[in-house]
Amino acid sequence: MSINKTLRPDLWKKREDTLWTEEMILNMGPQHPSTHGVLRLELHTDGEIVKECIPHMGYLHRGIEKNSEHKEYLQIIPLWDRADYLSSMHMSYLITYAAESLMKVEIPKRAEYIRVMCMELQRLASHLIWFGTFALDSGAITPIFYAFRERELVLDLLELASGARLLYNYIRPGGVRMDVNREFLHRLDKFLIHFQDYLDEYEELYTGNAIFINRAKDVGVLTKEEAISWGASGPVLRGSGVKWDIRKDEPYSIYEEFDFDIPVGQKGDVLDRYNVRFFEMRQSHRILRQALDGFPEGKYTARVPTSIKPEKGEVYVRIESPRGELGCYLVSDGGKIPYRLHVRAPSFVNLSALDTMLRGHLIADVVLILGSIDIVVGDIDR
């Protein structure tokens, strides 16, 4: 661990008049319980106060983008499932959406409903795991067990639909891989009846705690302007008071048919981002209820060829993943494999705003702010 002295001479200048003090560099990660994977934060600290934070990534780089240029579309989807492993439904829908935009195919209504239901369930699962780990970062060890209890129910539902619990490979061009059965609908109904109560339980367990509120309030403030100029998206952007949700502003799939609100924060601190995510869970619940009530009969997939060949052209599509704007830039030369496929990862862009958020805060706040961004390292590095 060494510092480049030519880059930062101010740190090494010996002060004659006072006691010689210098900044200490603390490497948080890549093996640290609170960096949510293999992320390394280079913290320049003055005592406990963080002066600068430089995130170092690349520890989980798997070359998925380059790999995608050598595989057929149906083979790409399971690959991208592994990028943001906490929201694989959104990842596979993103690739599907990009490919479908260059194809002439009409998606059956039932398939779209299944997709939306799966994506919203995935959002719930992702936000639940965020809630648990965020509470763990703040030092409360109990909420994660309660969050995992409900996440288990969500995963059971997704398993009933797709056959897998984490990496689904379920949504594919044309529709979904297989139809949902009656038990899925029945259990989803039962789950939705109880889910609001679970949320109330979490909030009584954790949100109202004075220690938590004191720790989260006015910490890691990201103003509206800063959030926009950093390109932040998702709950980080909405927590800063910008009303921007791609489900509402640029509707994809059948999101325009549903009635839901977009929560926004006021100050852009950790507490706002926390509350935005909680409100999003309640909105997902609303969407799921509407989707279940209006669930149509029909086919679960359109007729598409086994080997998918989108037309020649390029397209940029974006969806709202639990972490923010998930975009895909696809260039197709009309062949079986994409010419170029690039994904805009929300975790990566949101992480770049970390330094702005935590300057002048304490080391204890670093883990809290990092937790409030809700990064997934697989999403950052791809």
Partner: protein, 446 residues
């Protein structure tokens, strides 16, 4: 029994054991040596069993709080889990980091462990009735028991600093620095709360403090001191929500990041012994120690007194575990502000109240020990003999002894006490009231 000036000789059961040996014909020196050996062995075994049980209790109780069964694989209901863990820790490789300050690194766990052990010496666990005389279950009944406990407990922090410094790890260093700030800050309100207790009981001897609570537990007249001591006690033992020195999610392991094997086990043992000591001290100072109905009769007084003592102690131990399962960690600057801006002023205020009560012969504020002369007489030098004699009476007769101005202060203190209880109840209500902001704050306006 009179107050601070003359305290009669108290006996411990170990001295009874020595007496019994001497009756059996042993010379005094041999009996004394045997007594020391037996005392030492019993206390050591007691501590080991206690800590093993406490670790298991914590893991089980935390498991139940967190909707999981807790350890349940080793032995029936997981009872042997901590034994297995202890054996594992004993057999593990003893790793010393490459650039560590070796002697300090080795010494640190010992420096933390020994004072924890020593602090158990003065804690009275119960009382036995042997041939019509009371003998106390305590290793050594010191006159300055309270001061001894405070002195010993502040030595432990040196072990933490040594460990954090010697590890040559930045996380350990942060943990050590935090622990210095924390333990020194919280020692102040803790001592102030205990001074209130000492003033209330008129003695630093723990057994006297227990006897002063014959009619009413000190918990009720000294409620703010009790709350302060409870909070400061949690902070002194580095338990959640004050577990900043070993903050797992921030500093990995804090001062014991680099420790493994038996050295880590010593830190661990010390933490649990400290937890027990603080719980025992709360019990002794505020809940009347072993006081409770002797439901097994006078011959088995030792059993019922031990029962009451451990019932109260385990209530607080479970409360500590409950705190850990409930609260997020407090931040380092908030922790300091809380100690210096809230706890210490309240503790000083409490101390003034108790001093005022004792000076005006308020029977509630002085544990039923009423000075025979009032403040006015003390100020008059010709009657003042250098020390004050205390009499111990029941509440009605104590009230009859008071003059008019003292009666007024007594009534004021009763009213103030009721107001205080209401205030604290309101605080508790405000804190404990559950709410769900995401249901209300972010509702869209139509």
């Amino acid at each position: 029994m009179s107050g601070s000036a003359f305290t009669p000789r108290t006996y411990t059961i170990w001295e009874d054991f020595r007496l019994w040996l001497m009756h059996a014909g042993l010379p005094y020196e041999l009996a004394d040596a045997l007594m020391l050996i037996v005392t030492f062995t019993v206390i050591l075994i007691f501590i080991l069993v206690l800590v093993l049980g406490l670790v298991l209790l914590e893991r089980k109780f935390l498991g139940w709080l967190q909707i999981r069964p807790g350890p349940n694989r080793v032995g029936p209901w997981g009872l042997l889990q901590t034994v297995a863990d202890a054996i594992k820790l004993l057999l593990k490789e003893d790793i010393i980091p490459m650039n560590a300050d070796k002697p300090t690194f080795v010494l640190a766990p010992i420096v933390m462990f020994i004072p924890a052990l020593l602090s158990l010496v003065v804690i009275p666990l119960g009382v036995a009735n042997i041939n019509g005389r009371y003998s106390y279950i305590v290793a050594q009944d010191l006159d300055i028991g309270l001061a001894y406990l405070l002195a010993i407990s502040s030595v432990g922090v040196i072990g933490i600093i040594m460990g954090g410094w010697a590890s040559n790890n930045k996380y350990s260093l942060y943990g050590a620095m935090r622990s210095v700030a924390q333990l020194i800050s919280y020692e102040v309100p803790m001592v102030l709360a205990l001074v209130s207790v000492a003033l209330y009981a008129g003695s630093l001897r723990l057994i006297d403090i227990i006897h002063a609570q014959q009619s009413i537990f000190a918990l009720i007249p000294l409620f703010p001191a009790f709350i302060i001591f409870l909070i400061a006690g949690v902070a002194e033992t580095n338990r959640a929500p004050f577990d900043l020195p070993e903050a797992e999610s921030e500093l990995v392991g804090g001062f014991h990041t680099e420790y493994s094997g038996m050295k880590f086990a010593l830190f661990f043992l010390a933490e649990y012994i400290n937890m027990f000591t603080v719980s025992a001290l709360i019990t002794v100072c505020f809940l009347g120690g072993w006081k409770g109905p002797a439901f097994l009769g006078q011959n088995l007084l030792w059993l019922s007194s031990l029962f009451w003592f451990f019932l109260k102690v385990f209530f607080f131990l479970l409360a500590f575990i409950w705190f850990r399962g409930t609260f997020p960690r407090i931040r380092v600057d908030q922790m300091m502000h809380f100690a210096w801006k809230f706890l210490i002023p309240v503790a000083i205020f409490q101390l003034l109240i108790v001093a005022w009560g004792v000076a005006y012969r308020n029977p509630i504020m002085s544990g039923g020990y009423i000075p025979k002369i009032s403040v006015k007489d003390i100020w008059d030098p010709k009657d003042y003999t250098g020390f004050t004699e205390f009499t111990r009476t029941s509440l009605p007769s104590a009230l009859r002894m008071l003059n008019d101005s003292e009666m007024v202060t007594f009534l004021i203190s009763v009213i103030g006490f009721i107001l205080l209880i209401l205030f604290i109840g309101g605080l508790f209500y405000r804190t404990l009231k559950g709410f769900a902001p995401s249901k209300t704050i972010f509702q869209e306006k139509p």
